[in-house]
Symmetry: D2
Amino acid sequence: MAAVTDRVFDLGNISGIEKPVSVQEPYKLASRNPNKKNTVIKIGNIKIGDGSINVIAGPCAVENRDQLISIARAVKKSGATMLRGGAFKPRTSPYSFQGLGEEGLKILAQAREKVGLPIVTEVTDEESLPLVAKYADVLQIGTRNAQNFNLIKKVARIGKPILLKRGMSSTIEEWLMAAEYILLEGNEQVILCERGVRGFDSFTRNILDITAVPIIKHLSHLPIIVDPSHAIGKWRYVIKTSLAAIVAGADGVIVEVHNKPKEALCDGAQSLLPEKLEVLIKNIKEIEGYVRNCG
Amino acid sequence: MAAVTDRVFDLGNISGIEKPVSVQEPYKLASRNPNKKNTVIKIGNIKIGDGSINVIAGPCAVENRDQLISIARAVKKSGATMLRGGAFKPRTSPYSFQGLGEEGLKILAQAREKVGLPIVTEVTDEESLPLVAKYADVLQIGTRNAQNFNLIKKVARIGKPILLKRGMSSTIEEWLMAAEYILLEGNEQVILCERGVRGFDSFTRNILDITAVPIIKHLSHLPIIVDPSHAIGKWRYVIKTSLAAIVAGADGVIVEVHNKPKEALCDGAQSLLPEKLEVLIKNIKEIEGYVRNCG
Amino acid sequence: MAAVTDRVFDLGNISGIEKPVSVQEPYKLASRNPNKKNTVIKIGNIKIGDGSINVIAGPCAVENRDQLISIARAVKKSGATMLRGGAFKPRTSPYSFQGLGEEGLKILAQAREKVGLPIVTEVTDEESLPLVAKYADVLQIGTRNAQNFNLIKKVARIGKPILLKRGMSSTIEEWLMAAEYILLEGNEQVILCERGVRGFDSFTRNILDITAVPIIKHLSHLPIIVDPSHAIGKWRYVIKTSLAAIVAGADGVIVEVHNKPKEALCDGAQSLLPEKLEVLIKNIKEIEGYVRNCG
Amino acid sequence: MAAVTDRVFDLGNISGIEKPVSVQEPYKLASRNPNKKNTVIKIGNIKIGDGSINVIAGPCAVENRDQLISIARAVKKSGATMLRGGAFKPRTSPYSFQGLGEEGLKILAQAREKVGLPIVTEVTDEESLPLVAKYADVLQIGTRNAQNFNLIKKVARIGKPILLKRGMSSTIEEWLMAAEYILLEGNEQVILCERGVRGFDSFTRNILDITAVPIIKHLSHLPIIVDPSHAIGKWRYVIKTSLAAIVAGADGVIVEVHNKPKEALCDGAQSLLPEKLEVLIKNIKEIEGYVRNCG
C-alpha cells in the first residue's frame, strides 16, 4: 500500500492549551524530540512508519504445515504485507498447546519462501532467542513479557526489528519506558503494538485503548500498530475496530486469521476467516486512498 | 450531512463462528430483534440513526450569555448539527461551579433562536426535570446518573429524545439495561453515548472503549454517538479519536468547544477551539463522502 | 459491644516520611482537622465512631413479613446492633424484583418494634425520600447514587444519619467529596461504607479495597464500615474479610443474611445463613476483646 | 512464632450454597484436592504454611554493605523470620538504579551469616538464575514475571522454595495456573504472594485484594503471604493492612523496611522505619496469641 501523507490528520500545529512534548520526558530516546524524524523500519520490501499502512495477518499458532501454508497463501492473496504465527506460545495453562517450537519456525520459513511475506513471531525466553532470531524477520515481545527487561535487552541486541506489545496493564509511560530499554541498546527498530488493556467488562477479552494511537504519535517518533484481535477476543468486531485504528493514525494492524476457526488450537473465536481479511484490506485501501486524495 | 449507507461496513453477513444476537437477551426491547429496524430519532431537521453523521458541540457549562452565543455561532458556522451546554452541572466538588441553573437554560434557548441549532443539556435531578424539559430538545442523562433508574424513568416519561451516557464503570450489558428502563416507559428515542470508562492510566481522564461502537450496533437497534472529550480529557487527541469513532460506525460525536479554553469554568483542557472544530468537521465530511461513494 | 481504645493500632504518631493531612484538602469539612474529634453517631442506644464495633445485618430485600421478622430475630439473637433491608431496590434490570416499596418500609418498622434494632434502608430517589425518611433510622445512599449530588443534598437535609456507600469506581477523594456535600448541608452524621470497587476478576463481584479503611481513618474524622457481601458476592469469604476489616480499623461491617439463601429474591449467593452470622459476631467479639485488653 | 490452629477461622464446614472446590479445576495440582494436606514449606528453622505467621522484612534493594547489615540487624531484633532485599531489580526505567547484581547477593549472604535469617531475593532472568540460586534461600518471581512461564519453569527446577507474586493484573485463576507450572516441574514449595493489583485510584500504588487470601486458602493447599508495601505505596497504611491480612488467614507478610527511607534508592515512601516494624510484629504476636487461645 502506498504512503499516506500526514497532512490531513496532522492537526497538532494549531495553537491550543497544551504544551509540546518536553525532552525532559523520562523516555529520552523514545520521545518526539523536535529534531527527530519519524522512525521508519524496513523489512524486506515493506516499510513501517513512513505513512504507509501495513496489515500483518496469520494464525495465533503454527499448527502444522498444511494449515500454515494454506493460511499464508490466503494472507498473501488478500494484500497483507506480513505473516504472523506463533511457534513458541506463552499459555496461561501449562496444559494448553504450547506451540511446535523449532518445527513451527521451520514451517514459517517455508511459508515465507512460498508466498514471499516476511514473518513476525514471538520470542518468549532467552533460551530460544537464538533459534527464533534465526528464522524471524520481526521479533515479537508479547504482553506477558512487556516488562521483562532482561529479555527485552537481549532481543534488542539481535539487531532485528522488534514488535513490542503493550503490557496488559501498562500505562503509556511504562510502555514507552520498555521501548527505551531497546533504544538504549542501540536498536531503533521498534514497532509499538496496542493490543488492549485489562478492563472490567468480560464481554470483550480486553479493552482497546484507541487513543493510545494519537498519543504515541504525539509523544514518540516510533511507529505504532494495533492488534484488535487480542483486544476484543471476538472476530465480529475486528474489522471496524481495525479501520478505526487506521484513521486514528496507526501504521497498520495485526490480525489473527484462520481457515477453520472452530478447529483452531488457540484463539479461534477472535480469528477472521480469509474472506473477511480480504474485506478488511479492501476497506483499508479505500480509506487509505481517501486520506491520500484529500490530503 | 447526508446519509451513509450501511453497505460498506456492514460485514455481519459473512458466515463466522458467532451466533446472531438472541431475542433472549436481558434487554428485550433494546436488542436487535431481526424484525426491528434501526431506530431513527428526529430532532427538528436532523436525524440520528439514519446513517448520517451528527456533530454535537458546545461548552461544558453555560457561563454567561456572551460566551454561549459566541460559541454557538462558531458551532453553527462549523457545520455541527446540535449545540450542547450544561446549565445544571454535577460536580465532584461542592465548591466547584455548579452551573447557572434556569438562567443557563434561558441562555441556551436564546442561542437556539439565534443560530437555529437544537440544544442538548443535562438533567441532574427530578426537581429540575420539568424546567430542563421545558427548554431542552434532547435531555442528557450523565455518567453519574447512568444507573439512577428512578430519574431515568421520569426523564423517559417526558417523551423527548434522551442522550444516555454510559456509566463510568458500566458494562455493555448494564448500559443497555439502563436503556431498557427508558424503552419500557414507551420512549424509544434513546441515543447511547460512549464517553470512556474508568481506567488505570491517569494520562487520560478515562479510557475510550471504541469497540463499544460496533458492539452496540450489533446488539441493539439504538443509535450510538461518542464523546471523546470526556473520555480523553485532553483536546489534542480529540479529533483523531472522533474520526476513529465515525469509522467504527458511530452516528456522530459530541465534543466540547470553548472560545477561551484557558478561562473555561470547567473542562478547559479538553475543549477544542472553534477552529479545531472546523477541522474536525471538515475531516468528518471527507470520511463520510468516502464511505458513501464506495458503498 | 464495648468501646475499643485506639491505642494499640494508632501508630500514626511515630515519625515517618509522610506529612499529616493538610486542612487544604479539597474536602474541607470531611478532613481530619487537628482540632476536630472523631465524629460519633448515635442511633438509639448504639454509637458508631466511638471505637465500638457495630454489625449491621439483614436481607438484601424485604420480601415479605414472615421472611423479615424471622431474619430480624436471628439478627438480634446473634448480637448484631442494627437491621438492614431494602424496600426500594435499584436493580440493573427493570425485570428484576424492585422491592415492596412502602409495604417493605412498614414491615421493617414492625421488625424494629419486635426485636428492638434500629433499621437502615436505602433511599433511591427524591420522590420516595419523605416516605423512607419517615421509617428509617439510617438512610442509605447506594453505590449507584454515590455521585447523585442532588439526592445526596436532599437526604442530608432530613437530618438523620446517612450511610454513604462508595461509588463503584469512586476514588477516595471523590468519595470524601460526596460526603462533603452532606456536611455542607449541616448534617455531620455520615457513616462511610466501603463496598468494593470494580475490578477485572469476575471471580468476585467487586474488589474490596481494605486499605481504604486506614486511609479514611487518616484523612477524615468520619466513621467507616465495610460491606464485604457486595464486595465479594460469595458468602464463603465474608467472615474472614469482615474480621480483616475490623482489624484494619473499621467501625463495623454490614453483611447480608438470609434464612433461605437459595430462595432469596436478590443476592442469595452472598448471603450468610443466620448461624454463620453468629460465628462472625463471636469472632468479632473475640478480636474486640483482644484489642481492648492489649491496648 | 508458634503455630495457629485453623479451628477458629475455619468456617468452611457449615452448609451453604456454594459447592466445594472441584478437582476439575484447571489448576489440577494447585487445587485443594480433598485428600491433599496444606503444603508446608521448610526454610532453615522456619515453616510457612503450618499455621505459623512469618514476617519477611528488608529493604527494596541492597544498596551497600553497611545499609543492609544495619537493616538486617533491626529486622532480626524485631522478631521477623526472614530477610528480603533485591540484588537484581527490574525497574520501569532503564535510568533507575538496577541493583548491585552479584555484589548485592554476596552482601545478602553476609547478612544471613551475621544475623541468622534466611534470605529471599528476586530472580529476574535465566542468565542470572544460577547466581541467584547459589545465594538465595527463597527465589522470588516478581509481578512483572508472573506470567513469564519459561523463567518460572527454570526457577522451579532449581528445587528451592519459590515466592510467586501475583501478576499486577492477574486473575486468581491465572495466578494459580502460574503456580501450576511450578508444581508440574515437581517442585511443591510455592509461596503465593498477593501484592496488589492495578486499580484506578492513584492515591495508592495498587489496590490490595484482601479477599484473595481466604479465596486462595479455599481453592488451594499452597501457603499465601501478603505484600502490603507494594500494594499501597505509602508506609503509613502498611501496619493495619498487614494485621488485616493475618486475620484474613495469610501465612505471613513481606514488608519493606529501611533505616533512612528518605535516602532509599527505591521505594522509600513505602518503607517502614525499623521501630515501626517492631510495632507491627508486636501487634501480630498479640493477634496470633488471640487466635491460638480462642481456638
